[in-house]
């Protein structure tokens, strides 16, 4: 088994940090910042932090030679403090995304599986560790046979909690091997779930308590080095934020704000893109197919993705263009429900929940497709407008 101090140095987001490095972890933030910058490594700490933020703004997925010495613990703390101080969801999402990817790359390189086991234990996951690995199935395609083997099984409750933000089909419990309360999970997949945990640890929500934030900012701004880093990040962000803060707005011919005509499943994805949140694969496919089906220009669809943490304009343009040529149909309501992308209940959307047509609830037709939602809404709006025009004409008479 690995030395827990070393593991925590490498992975400072582990819960045991507070027990093993309490002299750092339990300090008041401003005291921590002052002390950290008064140390010899102050400058290096500053460089590492800035490198992280700049790499996040550049959409990098990795930082070459990312160091995991004891300074890594300071970097992690300072990072969290800065994310709170910056109070900007888009910055937070980008940094959390990058940091979790760096963690994934480190974990995947761990030669000793027992380290992964120790990390899971530290996270409080109920995990079974097999060495040698166990076989739980096989994939046969043509002449290629691949045994499904793993060193790990994770308890189904922990599995469900770790995968709750991932909505791809493969992570669904029903598609996994489950036995006596534990899910067989391939090593790589387990590491992917740990990555998601790390991302969520850094996803600090913008605070509602702005007064406390201002008090905090006033206090820490007195520390020269902190102010310097904070200002630098903000300057770079201000220069570049237009790249990220593209406001998604599309007009109909009559300059109508089309967003009011969208079903809640679409609105939810648009909300996420505006916040710079990561989208899962199915969300990306659906929004592209939906907008293209409404004859949306490819460039505008590409722009929509520009706020995403892993945006690559060239790649996105190619993919959206490809989808346009293929004329894919967006998912129907039933599929959206099975993919957990249906937002009818969360948004309490009347049209989705109660259907349309007759006034009598039992005779109303169920909505089956998100495109039908837009059509119905558009029809209703046109009808309403005509009614209003007629009304005003009558008044004129």
């Amino acid at each position: 088994m690995s030395d827990i101090y070393d593991i925590i140095k490498k992975y400072p987001w582990l819960p045991s940090l507070k027990d093993y490095y309490s002299e750092i972890a339990l300090k008041d933030p401003s005291e921590f910042i002052s002390e950290a910058f008064s140390e010899q490594f102050g400058n290096e700490l500053k460089e590492r932090i800035l490198e992280l933020f700049y790499a996040a703004f550049d959409n990098l997925e990795e930082i070459s030679e990312y160091k995991t010495d004891s300074l890594n613990i300071y970097t992690y703390f300072l990072l969290k403090i800065l994310l709170y101080a910056l109070d900007n969801q888009m910055i937070t999402n980008r940094v959390a995304n990058l940091y979790s990817k760096i963690t994934y790359n480190k974990l995947i390189k761990e030669k000793n599986h027992s380290t992964i086991y120790d990390i899971c234990q530290n996270l409080g996951l109920r995990i079974k560790y097999y060495n040698p690995p166990v076989n739980y199935g096989k994939i046969i395609i043509k002449d290629q046979h691949q045994n499904l083997v793993t060193n790990f099984m994770v308890h189904f409750i922990d599995y469900l909690k770790l995968t709750s933000n991932l909505r791809d089909e493969y992570r669904k419990l029903v598609h996994n091997s489950l036995s006596e309360g534990f899910v067989f999970i391939r090593n790589k997949r387990l590491i992917r779930l740990i990555q998601e945990y790390v991302r969520s640890k850094l996803l600090i929500k913008e605070t509602d308590d702005k007064a406390s934030l201002n008090v905090f900012l006033e206090k820490v701004s007195k520390i020269k080095e902190f102010k310097e880093i904070f200002d630098k990040i903000l300057t770079v962000w201000t220069e570049r934020k237009e790249e990220f803060e593209y406001v998604f707005k599309i007009d109909f011919e009559d300059k109508e704000d089309i967003i009011t005509l969208y079903p809640p499943c679409v609105k939810e994805i648009l909300r996420k893109t505006q916040e710079g949140q990561n989208l899962i694969h199915n969300e990306r496919l659906f929004i592209v197919w939906f907008l293209l089906a409404l004859d949306y220009p490819v460039e505008k669809v590409v722009d929509l993705f520009s706020t995403l943490p892993d945006f690559d304009r060239e790649k996105t343009f190619y993919q959206v263009n490809f989808a346009k040529k293929k004329h894919y149909t967006p998912y129907k309501c039933l599929t959206l429900k099975s993919l957990n992308l249906c937002m009818a209940v969360s948004y309490k959307d009347e049209l989705c929940l109660t259907g349309y047509g007759a006034e009598e609830p039992s005779e109303r037709k169920k909505l089956a497709h998100p495109l039908a939602y837009t059509q119905i809404k558009q029809y209703r709006m046109t009808k309403w407008k005509n009614y209003m025009i007629k009304g005003s004409e009558k008044e004129d008479e």
């Binding site: 739980y136 189904f156 409750i157 469900l160 029903v174 598609h175 996994n176």
Partner: protein, 425 residues
Amino acid sequence: MSNVAYLKRLFQAYYKEKGKEIPIVSLFDKREFGFIPWDKQFVMKRHISFSNFDSLAKYIINEGPRHIYSSGTIYLQPDNTDMNNKEYQGCDLIFDIDVDHFYTPCKNDHDIWYCIECGNTGTGMVKKCPKCKKLKLKQLTWICDKCLKIAKKELMKLIYNFLIPDFGIPLNQMKLAFSGHRGYHLKIENAEVRTLSGEERREIAAYVSGNNISLEILGLRKLNNVIYGLLRENIGWSQKIINKIDKILHNYTDDKIRRLLITFGLKADAIRSFLNSKDDFLQSISQNDNNIWNIEGFGLKTWSTFLEGIISMIGTEIDEPVSIDIHRLIRYPGSLHGKTGFKVQELYPDDLDNFNPLNEWNEKLDPIVFESKKKITQKIEIIEAKIPATKIKGETFGPYTQGEKIEVPHHIAVFLLCKGVAKTI
């Protein structure tokens, strides 16, 4: 005396006599209670809590409610009327198996529907009138040994095919009950399970029901005109599916397989082809190194139809929204069901095998609580156009038609009155 007044008094008397036998649910004072009274029909009084069982007993003796529910949810303030202020602490995982929600062949014998629009009538499970296609239907659903047996089988499938082997849930954490009408409830009381969110519960519900399985992810695919199927070696749903196919091919006669494949929606040619190749197919699924499935005329679509049929046989017929909902109220064990007058009977897993709610020999488990030992009978008049035969305690009563004045044993009278198809005379 009106039906309502009569039944209310009867329920009050029952709770007065048997109230002490009603079980006390765990974390009693942290549950929300809900009651549906007799007089104000279908308006539930909820956001009620009791600090101890005696206060509940007193309440139900005074009110004699038609239905009694308690939450699967634990709250710090269960009586707070604002859901956001109840201080949610977790929720038991609930499974509801109710034949109202799935097809049973016996419904063709005892479930009657009337179309309010065109006056058409018939039996069975329909969603809209087959004649005028309108949805305005009045339905009279009934109970029988057969559908309750199917519901019990579904419950046993849930426990012994999923909850124990796959989820590792021990029997002592499962609370079972006959619902008092057309099904069963299963509640998992486990501190960790209580922490699951609605979305996480949805995953469990999907697993035990087999809904929305991607056959492609399980391994079904077509490459260069060759179909690659599922492997028994793959623990989980693949293994369940192959084991089920194996069992069918070993135990079913050709005729039984034919009938099964018809219910799956397979066409005559495909069924013939399947029967011709079934031995080869059995051999191929028995091998661990071969997953090429080759039956003439079977493309990806036909295989999917076939496998979806198999999945529906394996999966459990649960009412998914109940399992997903973290604020759901369910019938309180030991209470009376206002639509039947039967007791919501708590059961231990060992009781299940022999349990027969409509003719239970074990007095302690008997949900028919209004059976009179003195063989008292009661006169009532049928007010519903047509009601099917009712077999309770081994004796069949009916069918009856509107206007018939009958003299039946007390428990049958209570049942028909609760069902709202008869009136006291």
